[in-house]
Subunit: 697 residues, 2 copies
């Protein structure tokens, strides 16, 4: 038996799915310069690479990519207009919405600059300078320092470098760690804090498909919004920007995805990855799943409760779905098996090279450390999720910590409690009230404590064991909520200013639980810092070997710094018998229009669609870019440096790519800028259209 | 804004999806001869059309297509071996399975002809002769007869023609009606009643995907089985057979699907189609849905009950899912709107032609009739579903009817109760016991009576209104089941022989309900016959116009007679952004292997798959053939007359094609014969393999 495939059919699949494919990698601007110019040209880059990044000036077109602190965005005009995702500017939309002005539902168009809406806390940073400070950091570490000392020394040096850098007004600085400590870079950015909303589509477009379509293809979401940055009250004039492309993309086209990807873990050894799988994602799947269940149950027939928990639920759902996708992807992609094989190949190779003995040892130490951490990993996870967890517990532990830290000199504090962070923290504690719904919060705490009771010996939490009886969790928790004032917004903001003694004198049961937890949380953080110190010592040793073994540039793990990924527009095969084509159109949005939640096309779009061929209006597209969280809103540009779309998601089969890149299914989802332009046309946003596409370029 | 598609991408989609496409149509053998030979050659037919059907002899290669009475099948050797679907020979598998011989789970391979397993009631018919008897039928209708008289005269003449035909021993005859009465054909077939099972795969292969994958693509079901027909104790030697192809199919290949499609309704007017939609499918969706719900509820924790209702549930689920698909397809395909437009175009055209005045009148009468029928359509549906419904009611009404019919001369009886039918009827009533589970049966009757109580005035059922109080349905029904002996198999078979007086004397409450229903059922059947008589008078008038307006051959609606459909192997676009490719492989079956029900790949297949590339073993494929129920097991042959697969399903988007053919989504699903051959290889069924593929042809 022989399975003869039609040659033409094979050629067709090649076109739809493979083509030339760019390598894995979220490249730093500096790494760009190490690529062969001919190869880049063959990929589809029409610009000289020096236009993207000029090493002599340390800047270039890539610097048109800005960060909103969490999302990426890109300047598209020299008048400060930038494009990002709808969900990235949603905060401003929310801030200016009210009972009589429902911008969330209706969307927003500023008819003139005067109508633009400033976001109270919105900020963007524009990359300005990258300075290698690896030597300075190394010099600050005392010789032979133990890991905790080492970690503290590195942290202290970072604080000094940042403080020095920020002496220049308008600059925002940070120290980024590459390859776990192989390189430290001081990043200077221009911070712009006058950010105004120019355009947002109706939520029905910006979030079309909602949770059902999240991480899914085919997608029909118009996840874009337009903002404008101001400086000194005038539109900011960026040196670099990506003009909106006048022609769109088609299958096979070269694109680059620019942005600030947050965190990937590809530099981990297989043993470390196993910890991430078994504790981060497996526990997230279990506990977040349980939280989602109880929140839904407690707010089932309660409109007020449902509104309060909506954002929490959305975030939990997103992380829960993501965790399921990570676990499924790891299993399907056999990622850990592949990583084990790679680790072993590098070890063997390094063992035979001069000068890499420490690398092999370092790897073994990393694995030993990973093995030890499993013993308390479930408890550690419970401590980590106090922050996204029940508000009352988060607030109580935060207030207790704040009171203690405030007594220290600023430079010696836990970085989260330094003076520069306090306004934001106060703001958070105030705003959280609108997300609080007691029945749901209480049920979440029940779940958390129940998990604490299930911990094995050796990682038990004393504060829980001694204060909350196992067979009386709901009753004890109810008593905590009955007695506490932490959940009262006025009292809470008073507590924000109080000393440890004052907080203690309140005899508030939730604060008392936080006081009981505090030494255990401190001990855990010290352990974590020790571990981080050890890893910062070991990882660079191992990465040296990995990079040398590769014999070509290796992109460092994502760390929220500026990166570029080369890609092509292409579909993929999610499973036998199915091909996902790389582009969707308005016709598909209309197909999905059921009138139910998240699948309701606004009337003005339906009306406009009747007059045209909806299958000719492009909506979203796939490419094989290497992206992760933080790439939301990333400008997607063509080989001429023009903006063709905005990245906003990854496909389901690609969720586990934080562990490793699989070219078969590594696809990011972008919204096509032509859909934005079409919407602006039918919404008659003429001034904006003109500003975005100044006649014949 | 312009959406420029890559030319290569367009070409690729053309290849995957469109290509040259054959027209709609389940053609009769006689119609084949009206096709242009050059066109057929261009489609991909290598054989001269006279090889398929020789008009002078009235037979040809198509006659290798046989009927199992419900399914289609095809001879593949001159030693009587035939291939059909697993589910078409499942009855024999079941019959020979027992606690110590689980052929259902394990499958079956006859090591030699001596081991083949004969099916007690299995029969196949081989087409022998087609005789046009339109004139004879017309001559039998008294001039100016009323519709009921007309219908009875046609029925009586059919009985006479069949009786005369069946005087030849071994012949099985029937009269088929084409285009609602435009043509009557006496079909003579050779009936073979010695049918033996030669091969069946394990159920896990033959039903892989179960209800979840039913009507779905991508599919990975090995829905095939092999039988052998015997005559006088020796393998039957058919004159024609389809040798198993040595090369398979690939995208774009020409195929023909042969078989006995059961019923389509494309010749209906839009008004008649609306009745089918609103009463057949909408009510099936509602009532079958309700039946499924109560059956599942009543057998939830009862293994015995679940086994008893399994077959009923499977059939209800299949019909229920189908109904949902029909309704969705009608809506999505805007089928009725299109039919209304076509009706109106034909009417306008016919109104301007000489000789078609009666056609236009006929169409208006059909529509008027359709309008009138809506008044009692819900009641009519309730009467129709007594047969697939609660067994006790079906059995009671059948026994009451039988006792009455038996007193009449054979030729005057309701055709279902003629002597030739009685052995099968007795058999049915006996076998039904294994499907009986009282709690479920009772709940189904509750649902049925509840619907009867909801009927509007003008279509009420007196027997229910007067005997079952609306507010005491469950209690009254429970009393019926407590008191009846109909559900006792021994008593029921006694009743089978009893007279009306004897049945009446039993004072059996279920029989008494049947006696009360009997005059209403009789009246309904007389109305139906009157309507059928009217339609038989009107439809041919209208069809003459429709066919003349088309100006080319028009395939008559399916009527369980031999048909051929021309097609090509191709995928389709089920929705924006998704392409279904036209072939699946063993790799996809392995992807679906969860170990859960219907998705468990047998161990021997997993073992064999480890030694090969599973993506190289073809499994199922799509083509754009025009099929319907009854095409199960249809041989799919290539342009050289060789068998490449067996049809076994339609895709979801194509379920509504009984109303009309939509080339965009009209796809039938076949299992690739190469998968059967591969299975036979790994199962080491060497003798069978050799018989199926005699060395180099």
């Amino acid at each position: 038996m022989q399975f003869r495939n039609s040659l033409r059919w094979t050629a067709c699949l090649t076109l739809a799915l493979s083509l030339v494919h760019a390598d894995e990698g979220k490249w730093t601007p500096q790494q760009l310069l190490r690529f062969d110019a001919a190869w880049l040209k063959k990929q589809g880059l029409d610009l000289p690479v020096s236009r993207l990044w000029d090493p002599t000036r340390g800047t270039g077109l890539l610097a048109a990519t800005i960060s909103t602190g969490g999302c990426s965005a890109g300047f598209v005009t020299n008048t400060g207009l930038f494009l990002t995702n709808h969900h990235c500017l949603f905060g401003i939309v929310q801030e200016h919405s009210g009972p009589n002005r429902d911008l969330i539902t209706r969307g927003f168009i500023a008819g003139s600059p005067a109508e633009e809406l400033r976001g109270k806390t919105a900020r963007v940073t524009v990359p300005h300078r990258f300075t290698d400070v690896t030597k300075e950091i190394a010099a600050a570490i005392p010789a032979g320092a133990a890991d905790l000392v080492r970690a503290k020394a590195v942290q202290a040096k970072q604080k000094l470098l940042i403080a020095a850098c920020e002496k220049t007004a308008g600059m925002h600085c940070s120290v980024a760690i590459f390859d776990g400590g192989l390189q430290y870079v001081l990043i200077t950015t221009i911070e712009l804090d006058d950010i105004r909303l120019v355009y947002a589509p109706p939520r029905a477009i910006g979030e079309f498909g909602g949770e059902a379509d999240n991480f899914r293809w085919p997608r029909h979401t118009g996840d874009f919004a337009i903002g404008r940055a101001y400086k000194d009250g005038k539109p900011y004039q960026p040196e670099f920007y990506f003009p909106v492309a006048r022609t769109g993309v088609k299958p096979g086209d070269f694109v680059m995805v620019l942005g600030y990807p947050g965190r990937t873990i590809r530099s981990m050894t297989a043993a470390e990855m196993a910890n991430e799988r078994d504790f981060r994602f497996q526990l997230r799947k279990e506990i977040y799943g349980e939280w989602i269940r109880v929140i839904e149950e407690k707010t089932k027939n309660n409109a007020k409760g449902a509104t309060a928990v909506a954002a929490t639920l959305k975030s939990l759902n997103n992380n829960h779905t993501n965790a399921i996708g990570q676990l499924a992807g790891l299993s399907r992609g056999r990622t850990l098996e592949k990583q084990t094989a790679l680790d072993s190949a590098v070890s063997t190779w390094a063992g035979q090279q001069a000068g890499f003995a420490k690398s092999v040892e370092g790897k073994m130490d990393l694995d030993r450390l990973a093995g030890r951490r499993r013993g308390t990993a479930t408890r550690d996870f419970l401590f980590q999720i106090i922050k996204p967890g029940p508000l009352a517990l988060y607030q109580a532990t935060t207030l207790v910590r704040l009171a203690a830290e405030r007594t220290k000199p600023d430079a010696e504090r836990d970085p989260d409690y330094m003076n520069r962070e306090l306004p934001a923290l106060s703001n958070t504690l105030e705003r959280q009230q609108k997300s609080f719904f007691r029945a749901a919060d209480e049920a979440m705490l029940d779940v958390w404590i129940d998990r604490a009771w299930k911990l094995r010996a050796g990682e038990r939490i004393q504060a829980i064991d001694t204060r909350i009886p196992r067979d009386g969790i709901p009753q004890t928790v109810a008593a905590l909520y009955n007695g506490t004032k932490v959940t009262d917004p006025v009292e809470r903001m008073k507590m924000f200013e109080e000393t440890t003694a004052q907080l203690g004198a309140r005899r508030d049961p939730m604060l008392d639980l936080a006081f009981a937890l505090e030494p255990e949380l401190r001990a855990w953080q010290a352990e974590t810092q020790t571990t981080d110190g050890a890893i910062a010592r070991l990882r660079p040793l191992w990465r040296r070997a990995v990079i040398a073994h590769a014999g070509k540039p290796v992109a460092p793990d994502a760390n929220s710094t500026l990166r570029v990924s080369f890609a092509h527009v292409k579909g993929y095969v999610p499973r036998d018998g199915v091909i996902y084509s790389p582009q969707t159109t308005l016709a598909g949005m209309l197909e999905k229009n059921t009138g139910e939640e998240s699948f309701t096309v606004p009337g003005f779009v339906l009306d406009a669609a009747r007059l045209i061929k909806p299958e000719e209006i492009p909506l979203d597209f796939l490419a094989d870019a290497d992206t992760t969280g933080g790439n939301s809103g990333s400008p997607v540009i063509n080989g001429r440096g023009e903006l063709v779309g905005l990245n906003f998601d990854r496909v389901w089969e690609n969720v586990a790519n934080d562990f490793g890149y699989n070219p078969e299914v590594a696809r990011n989802i972008s919204v096509d800028v032509r859909f934005l332009m079409w919407l602006l046309e039918i919404q008659k946003a003429d001034a904006l259209l003109k500003e975005l596409s100044p006649a014949k370029r």
